[in-house]
């Protein structure tokens, strides 16, 4: 009823293979983009942009990055936080060494460094699988974090050991640093995230993405029909780390404004892994949903007592927060082990057949 497919005929291969073959999906995406581009900038306060939208989009991109590796290629990784850190530190080094080149170029270029490191730590994946690989990537996490603390060259011998974001401009408008308007930063993040999401989405639908999924589903079978595991696994590590690196560079340059090594610790890796699992392994839309759930929900819960004029104290609210979010994660995973994306798919199916369910 709401999702009528009847009458939507595909008359060419191109139409049949489109990213969004259904008219309803296309309308939905268009509405979302309109909300993101027009409604949010018009309505939202600086607080909303700074605290919710910008980090949400950045986390969604990092989740997509890990989803490529874990969700699509089946390689469990606990090093996401460190790969994001590589992006951030690379971007910092690049922009302080070559300040005249546009920061957007460096944000994207820092992903290449992250991809390189990712491939290096992805090499063990050719021999080991599952939990053992998780431990190998955990080593990457600890080693890289150690580098961020112990290699002063990475943070230009700063006495505080932190990296600070200098002001950089695009066409005369500051987009990073303290003077950058949240709205400018929001649009920068939105454009980068949208473009990368589109590219990755198409990459996954194409030949490369299919080889990843074949490796995930059964690597021996994939090998037998001509997929080279070396190329497939390492390309998954490279693309995943590239996306995480870009997300990490944005994390520091377009959101936090400064970062210590502890910003990229194991907790960040787990946070992103939870976003992937809760959103749905192997789903682009799920990445956005998981990021929203894990990142935005605690903020909303934190603000609820104040909004309802309940005086329960900041610390109590924080404790409640841990309990509520923890309970909800368990509840959702019991109801739908395949994550929010699957929940949405079930809901959509119900809409399709409404009012005559079978």
């Amino acid at each position: 009823m709401f999702y009528r497919e009847a009458g939507q005929f595909k008359t060419s291969y191109a139409a049949d293979q489109a990213a969004f073959p259904l008219l309803e999906d296309r309308i939905g995406i268009a509405i979302l983009l309109l909300v993101a581009v027009i409604a949010i900038p018009l309505l939202a306060s600086n607080f909303f942009l700074n605290t919710i939208m910008i980090p949400f989009l950045i986390f969604a991109l990092a989740t997509i990055g890990l989803n490529i590796l874990t969700g699509y290629c089946g390689q469990l990784s606990l090093g996401t936080g460190a790969f994001m850190g590589v992006g951030a530190y690379a971007c910092y080094k690049l922009t302080t060494t070559f300040p005249d080149i546009n920061i957007i170029v460096w944000i994207l270029a820092s992903g290449i460094f992250s991809a390189g490191i990712g491939v290096l730590f992805g090499l063990p994946s050719l021999r080991i699988k599952g939990f053992y690989l998780a431990v190998a990537t955990l080593a990457a996490q600890f080693f890289l974090e150690w580098c961020f603390i112990r290699v002063p060259w990475l943070y230009n011998n700063n006495a505080s050991g932190a990296i600070e974001v200098p002001t950089r401009t695009l066409a005369g408008i500051a987009i990073t640093g303290p003077t950058a308007d949240p709205l400018t930063r929001y649009f920068t993040v939105l454009v980068i995230v949208s473009v990368l999401t589109l590219l990755i989405g198409n990459l996954i639908r194409g030949r490369i993405g299919r080889t990843w999924m074949m490796i995930r589903d059964m690597d021996i079978a994939a090998e037998l029909i001509g997929v080279r595991p070396l190329a497939a696994k390492l390309s998954a590590f490279a693309v995943s780390s590239f996306v995480c690196g870009v997300a990490g560079a944005m994390f520091v340059f377009l959101w936090l404004g400064a970062a210590e090594p502890s910003s990229f610790n194991i907790r960040l890796s787990f946070q992103i892994l939870f976003m992937v699992i809760l959103g749905g392994l192997g789903s682009m839309a799920g990445s956005f949903m998981g990021a929203a759930f894990i990142f935005i929900l605690p903020i909303v819960i934190r603000m609820l007592p104040a909004a309802l004029d309940l005086d329960i104290g900041a610390a109590t609210a924080e404790q409640l927060n841990f309990m509520i979010v923890g309970a909800l994660i368990i509840a959702i995973l019991i109801v739908e082990p395949h994550g929010l994306a699957r929940l949405w798919a079930v809901f959509r199916q119900k809409l399709r057949v409404w009012p005559f369910p079978y």
């Binding site: 979302l32 909300v35 993101a36 306060s45 607080f47 230009n156 505080s160 959509r348």
Partner: protein
């Protein structure tokens, strides 16, 4: 349609959330308190939060606020986590906070560049970026009564006195045990400089934050290196662990000197082994001051305090929080006098901080005579470089064992200015100071 669930929710929030941070009301003085009553550092965070809150609450109850204007106290839980701290800052900013206290060196470093853009004064009391003491470069940041560099120089000076003169430090070995984060690394450049100048050997023992409750490897190294003195820059559970481990390896406690952050609860668990442990401080410990008695009558006895036990009032970190609120209250009072009206703005409070002069007479008036040394700030000097003293743990309480003495101002000040210039060079383009100097007349 796939993303619509999420973004629809988000869009709905867009309308709802901006309403929640309460807007500034002119008949109140808005002082947000960034606190951490949860997380691994809560042990240190809770007494500080209580001290800060109770002093302001006492002013509200006893005097009806400052200059007749009520103080609106709002706590924001940071968990000593930098991201949450920045989130707190964003959430209180629409309310025009008069002063922001980050209570974490990491959060302070994030907020320093934003302070001059947002025109919000930042009070990082005896923590944060040492170079912020240079008011000509950092007009919106204040770190009274002394920076970490002042503290490190004071400890070296004290050790020098113990050895019968600073020149006797030559050939000695001094160990530095620190939390491996922005906070613990802050004094290293100064210690390294001093090591060269006075000829002592500096050995470093970094403690990573995530394993700070297991310092056996660090203390094994201490036992091997046998430093003549140990200096500690610790926080939260790290302090308690360090004291316990030091007692275990039988390190002579009277040669173990910490910066001002350990609380009573950090030292007590080590039992008799902790006797003799020394700490630098800039305010008195104890509750025998009229102002603190007022807190008991007006706040604690009325059940308005979150302190669980009466004996916690007057402990080291509780009084630390109190000093923080004392500085805020005095800055607001100074601003009210300077500008001649009670409803001061953040920019006016900045003037108040710069013209701050807490004299001995004023301390007596407040009811804190002898609680701390007089504190004077100026447009150039945002730290005050006030006098400090050493106290020693006697098994039950802290005992003052030295007179008030000044840090090595003449050595530290040029280094601070140099560091401020380095910071500017690394963060180009850094805004020029554009606020006029406010001097109390």
């Amino acid at each position: 349609m796939k993303h619509s669930l999420v973004l629809g929710l988000v869009a709905a929030l867009a309308a709802a959330v901006p309403l929640t941070p309460a807007s500034a009301q002119n008949d109140e003085l808005f002082l947000p308190l960034f606190t951490y009553r949860t997380g691994p550092f809560a042990g240190s965070g809770i007494p500080i939060a209580n001290g800060m809150r109770d002093y302001l609450e006492m002013l509200n109850q006893r005097d009806g606020g400052i200059g007749g204007v009520k103080i609106r106290i709002e706590e924001c839980e940071t968990g000593y986590n930098t991201q949450k701290g920045v989130e707190c800052y964003d959430s209180v900013k629409p309310g025009n906070p008069l002063i922001v206290n980050p209570w974490s060196t990491g959060i302070t470093l994030q907020l320093i560049p934003r302070a001059s853009v947002d025109k919000t004064p930042i009070l990082s009391m005896a923590y944060g970026l040492s170079a912020a003491a240079d008011g000509t470069v950092f007009p919106w940041v204040f770190n009274p009564p002394a920076s970490y560099w002042d503290a490190a120089s004071a400890i070296i000076k004290y050790i020098g006195e113990q050895e019968g003169g600073i020149e006797n430090l030559k050939g000695k070995k001094i160990g530095y045990l620190f939390l491996d984060a922005g906070y613990g690394r802050e004094p290293i450049p100064l210690l390294e400089d001093f090591a060269k100048e006075y000829g002592f050997e500096l050995t470093m023992y970094p403690v990573p934050a995530d394993t700070m409750q297991n310092q056996s490897s660090q203390w094994l190294n201490v036992r091997r290196d046998r430093p003549d003195y140990m200096i500690m820059w610790g926080w939260g559970a790290m302090n308690a662990t360090a004291v316990r481990e030091a007692a275990k390896v039988r390190y002579p406690m009277d040669k173990f000197i910490s910066v001002w952050w350990p609380g009573e609860d950090d030292v007590r668990p080590a039992g008799a082994g902790a006797d003799g442990f020394k700490m630098l401080n800039f305010h008195a410990v104890g509750d025998e001051f009229p102002a603190i008695q007022d807190i008991v009558t007006h706040v604690f006895d009325k059940g308005l305090s979150q302190v669980s036990d009466r004996s916690k009032i007057g402990e080291n970190l509780y009084n630390r929080g109190l000093v923080n609120s004392l500085i805020m209250a005095e800055a607001i009072r100074t601003a009210q006098e300077l500008h001649g009206h009670p409803n001061v703005t953040p920019a006016e409070v900045r003037d108040g901080l710069e013209a701050l002069n807490i004299s001995a007479d004023r301390l007596k008036e407040i009811g804190l005579e002898g609680f701390m040394e007089p504190m004077v700030l100026s447009c150039e000097d945002h730290a005050g470089q006030s006098d400090l003293y050493i106290q020693q743990w006697n098994g039950e309480s802290w005992e003052k064992i030295s007179d008030w003495f000044s840090p090595m101002v003449e050595k530290v000040r040029p280094m601070l200015e140099e560091a401020a210039q380095e910071y500017v060079a690394a963060n180009q383009p850094w805004p020029q100071r554009d606020v006029p100097c406010a001097n109390a007349s």
